[in-house]
């Protein structure tokens, strides 16, 4: 047992009134922080510390890395949605002048399951020669029957994507994790979650609401493509990679190539977005390393936009059947969901977690199915499962509130146990002017306005395999180190704020070194877990290194170390601030050029709710409520989102400027999901017809609504910083809030995404389509 001590923490939502909570915490942890108003840097608007490099073009992304002798690699990809590889002859490609390595990724006789599946790869002196080498590969494909549409894939006579033996067993994106499920035809499942007795719950209901909802396949569309430069040398492997998880990729590489961890280094500096799709090594990463090993030279492999669209991950499409039972007062008696989703040739299309956790309902059942189709593998994308799941459930709740004659906010006040979301509903309703909301379709005229609300739920995840180092050098300079990567959210700035707060310095005084596995292991930048994982051990490390510095300063100031504090660039005696030393002068007293502390942590103070290898779930009610105001042109069918109010909580906010930016981005990604984005597969050819950024529509600056962001300070006394993430909750509620607003505008419910003008007109009965 480690020694502990008792501390009293401020707890509660600052905006709604604070109480306290008493915690038994490990003796080595720093004392509780007060609310942000009493802190110097935490919770403040600190601009991005590496912002200057970003605006001057100095930031180096993986696509910018150039090494001496570097080769350029490209894939030969399967041109058909389903095929048998009949022949693969790479001799001419290998013999080509300037080609340095060629590898086969499939063998004759292999079944290829989607258009774009890698078949072979080449590395050559230039991109041009690589293209020539690809053309010199003699490959023959025998076309096989295929299916790309999820509904068609469910038919009993549909062409099979897999047989039972070859179907993937695990679950690449982990939602829901249910190994060993039966596979019938192209359908795997159901994965069942049940509590109580749903049949009895429906029998006890006064009102039953049913609904069917459909969501599209969305691609991640990171602006920087998936890219890697692999440098295999006799003494070890260095990989520069646009990745969300340097230390995870290192582990994968070590295992795959039989290397010890200390011979594998993964580096990322600038990182051009990931959204879930750059979480793993991937086939492209593995291939580049293999080519580098064969050629004995560095190899660069960067996907083009077409490859990004067909084979770099996507958010699965879903079909959801929901059934809700409730008493007249709104109390839920039963909730049942049957869902089918498709992640192409992969798994992970479940949507049930959101409904399972967000509302109080004693009787609950989900039956979730993955449907295989001949399309590129899906993977986790910003709020996996919960984003499509919220689109269905939050509309069903809206329908229920109308049937009950209750305001949607009043119904949620009854069924949602989250205190944070209750406060968020109150604040959001005031900001958007909820009292102006009219009855569905009541706006006269051709352009009808409406207002809607929907909620977010995500887990507070924490990576436990995380450590941080803080160093003080004898000239008074300070470094914070971790392999954690900044994928754009600004974690480096957050780290500098934490260290500056502890050491009494300014964030700009802290040099943050991250994105390199030479430093202590940082966690992944996914699952909204980075801040929660990295900041508590970082604060502890900074506290420890300060204590060491304090021992030197104490001698000089004739005080006991515990009498000292670090404020405003000085180490001073708390009771007599005039007796002080500049931080720099204190550092000059050090016997060695630098001192250092490395810290990690095993648990949140109240204990993690669930543990997984290397990670844990602290709690499962990271919230957020969003309100949308839309204008629907009933003549053109165009929906314009005019305003979104997004009220969120993430424990203790560390940098409101960065948080606002992330929430605004999450909202816009939700607008884009709701109105524009859709991967279109041609049923006759099995190919993606909009594999670019022209016909695959991302929201642009013209589509941006006014976005008002409110971040609560929700203190819980859970860790040394009490900070959690926000990336995913910011995205989950947007599309259903817009859908509910559209219903409020036109009085007709749209139940499929994206809500394009043709869908609106069809719903209004203004076209021949139904």
């Amino acid at each position: 047992m480690t020694a502990t001590r008792t501390e009293i923490f401020s707890a509660g939502i600052v905006e709604a009134g604070l109480g306290t909570v008493t915690r038994e915490i490990p003796a080595g942890e720093p004392p509780p922080w007060p609310p942000n108003a009493e802190l110097t840097w935490i919770g403040k608007d600190v601009p991005r510390l590496n912002g200057r490099d970003k605006v001057t073009g100095a930031t180096r992304y993986t696509v910018d890395v150039r090494l001496p002798g570097m080769l350029h690699a490209r894939f030969l990809r399967c041109p058909l949605p389903s095929a048998e590889l009949r022949k693969l002859d790479t001799a001419a490609a290998t013999a080509l002048d300037g080609a340095r390595a060629v590898i086969a990724l499939a063998r004759p006789g292999d079944r290829l399951r989607y258009a774009g599946q890698p078949v072979a790869a080449v590395a050559a002196l230039s991109p041009g020669v690589a293209a020539e080498a690809l053309a010199a590969i003699d490959a023959e494909f025998r076309p096989l029957p295929f299916v790309v549409d999820m509904d068609e894939a469910r038919a009993p006579d549909a062409p099979l994507v897999y047989d039972e033996a070859s179907a993937p067993k695990g679950n690449p994106s982990g939602f829901p994790a249910a190994p060993g499920l039966p596979v019938v035809g192209n359908v795997r499942g159901p994965a069942v979650v049940r509590r109580g007795d749903p049949a009895q719950g429906f029998a006890a209901a006064d009102i039953v609401v049913e609904g069917e909802y459909r969501t599209q396949v969305q691609t991640h569309s990171c602006l920087e493509p998936h890219a890697i430069v692999a440098d295999w040398r006799a003494d070890g492997l260095t990989v520069y990679m646009s990745t969300q998880f340097t230390s995870g990729v290192r582990q994968e590489l070590a295992a795959l190539f039989g290397l010890p961890l200390n011979r594998v280094r993964v580096v990322v500096d600038g990182m051009g977005g990931g959204f879930g799709s750059k979480s793993q090594l991937g086939v492209y990463g593995r291939t580049a390393v293999e080519l580098s090993r064969l050629a004995g030279l560095p190899v660069r492999l960067a996907l083009d936009r077409h490859e990004e669209q067909i084979d770099a991950g996507n958010r699965p499409g879903t079909f959801q059947r929901m059934r809700l039972g409730a008493k007249r007062d709104g109390t839920l008696t039963a909730l049942a969901i049957e869902s089918h989703g498709t992640a192409g040739v992969a798994l992970g299309a479940g949507i049930g977690f959101f409904a399972e956790r967000i509302y109080t309902c004693p009787n609950f059942e989900t039956l979730q199915h993955d449907v295989f189709v001949n399309a590129g593998p899906g993977c986790a994308m910003r709020g996996p499962g919960n984003t499509p799941g919220a689109y269905g459930l939050e509309q069903a709740i809206d329908t229920l509130s109308e049937r009950l004659g209750l305001d949607p906010l009043a119904l949620r006040d009854r069924i949602d146990p989250s205190k944070a979301r209750r406060e968020e509903r109150r604040i959001g309703a005031e900001r958007i002017g909820w009292s102006r909301r009219h009855k569905p379709g009541a706006d006269p005229g051709a352009v009808k306005r409406g207002m809607g609300v929907a909620q977010s739920l995500w887990m507070s995840n924490v990576q436990t395999n995380v450590a941080c180092e803080v160093r003080v050098l004898r000239d008074g300079s300070v470094e914070a180190l971790s392999s954690v990567q900044d994928i754009g959210t600004g974690i480096g700035t957050v780290m500098a704020q934490v260290v500056a707060e502890v050491l009494g310095l300014r964030p700009g005084d802290i040099t943050v070194r991250i994105g390199d596995t030479e430093f202590p292991p940082g966690g992944p930048s996914y699952g909204s877990r980075t801040t929660a994982s990295i900041t508590p051990p970082l604060r502890t490390a900074a506290t420890r290194v300060l204590a060491e510095l304090g021992r030197e300063a104490a001698r000089m100031l004739n005080a006991a170390p515990e009498e000292l504090e670090a404020r405003e660039g000085r180490i001073r005696v708390k009771s007599d601030p005039g007796r002080s030393l500049a931080f720099r002068d204190a550092a000059a007293l050090l016997r060695t050029d630098r001192i250092s502390a490395v810290e990690s942590r095993a648990d949140d103070y109240p204990g993690f709710r669930r543990r997984m290898p290397d990670a844990a779930m602290a709690h499962e009610d990271l919230g957020g409520v969003q309100f949308a105001e839309v204008a629907v042109d009933t003549e053109t069918g165009a929906i314009r989102v005019e305003r979104v109010v997004a009220v969120h909580d993430c424990g203790r906010p560390i940098n409101r400027l960065l948080l606002e930016s992330q929430v605004q981005g999450g909202v816009l990604m939700g607008v884009s999901y709701a109105l524009l984005e859709r991967r279109v597969m041609d049923r006759r050819t099995g190919l993606m017809v909009n594999a670019d950024l022209e016909h695959y529509k991302l929201a642009g600056v013209h589509d941006t609504p006014e976005i008002e962001v409110v971040i609560l300070e929700n203190l819980q006394g859970n860790s040394a910083t009490d900070a959690y993430g926000i990336a995913e909750p910011a995205n989950i509620a947007t599309a259903p809030a817009i859908a509910n607003a559209v219903y409020n505008a036109i009085g007709v419910r749209l139940t499929s995404l994206p809500m394009t003008p043709d869908v609106v007109l069809a719903a209004l009965g203004k076209t021949g389509r139904s």
Binding site: T489, G490, G700
Partner: protein, 158 residues
């Protein structure tokens, strides 16, 4: 294979004379990034869709991925590297930095060059004009709100 020597192209790049070999089909984005090492200009799509490679040619925003290097003969090209004269951030760069107009930052150079082009011809643009000028530049991270705010601020400070 026998290679014809590539013709030398002459243009001004960020205020300096520049002579660089480029074949007829070579795109400006390749010349900037691969031959000249000016990797601040980014490429995000397969041609003309994302705006990440926006540069100024004779002061006007152009896509370097749709411009052949040969067409630049005798013209004035400006890239993101040329904006911070003497190491000082331009007003737009400062506003993007302070107002957090960046997140991952990959679209930022193109975004700033598109905005720069606007401010040169219209130093005090309306918000509508700013949105129009940036409508060819995609950003997947920020939601554009702080980008527009940054351009407005730079225009106000101009």
């Amino acid at each position: 294979m026998p290679n014809e020597p590539e013709p030398i192209r002459h243009f001004r790049l960020n205020g300096r004379n520049c002579a660089v070999p480029a074949a007829d089909h070579t795109l400006l984005v390749e010349t900037l990034r691969e031959t000249l090492g000016h990797v601040g200009t980014k490429q995000g799509c397969d041609g003309g869709e994302c705006g990440a490679c926006t540069v100024l040619i004779d002061g006007v925003a152009r896509l370097a991925c749709l411009t052949r290097t040969g067409e630049c003969e005798g013209h004035e090209i400006e890239t993101i590297e040329g904006l911070a004269a003497g190491g000082r951030m331009s007003r737009l760069q400062r506003a993007f930095h302070e107002r957090l107009g960046t997140q991952c930052g990959y679209c930022t150079p193109g975004m700033i060059m598109a905005a720069e082009s606007l401010l040169r011809r219209d130093p005090h643009p309306t918000e509508t004009a700013i949105r129009e000028a940036l409508s060819g530049n995609l950003c997947r991270c920020t939601g554009y709100v702080k980008i527009v705010e940054a351009v407005l601020e730079a225009a106000g400070a101009g």
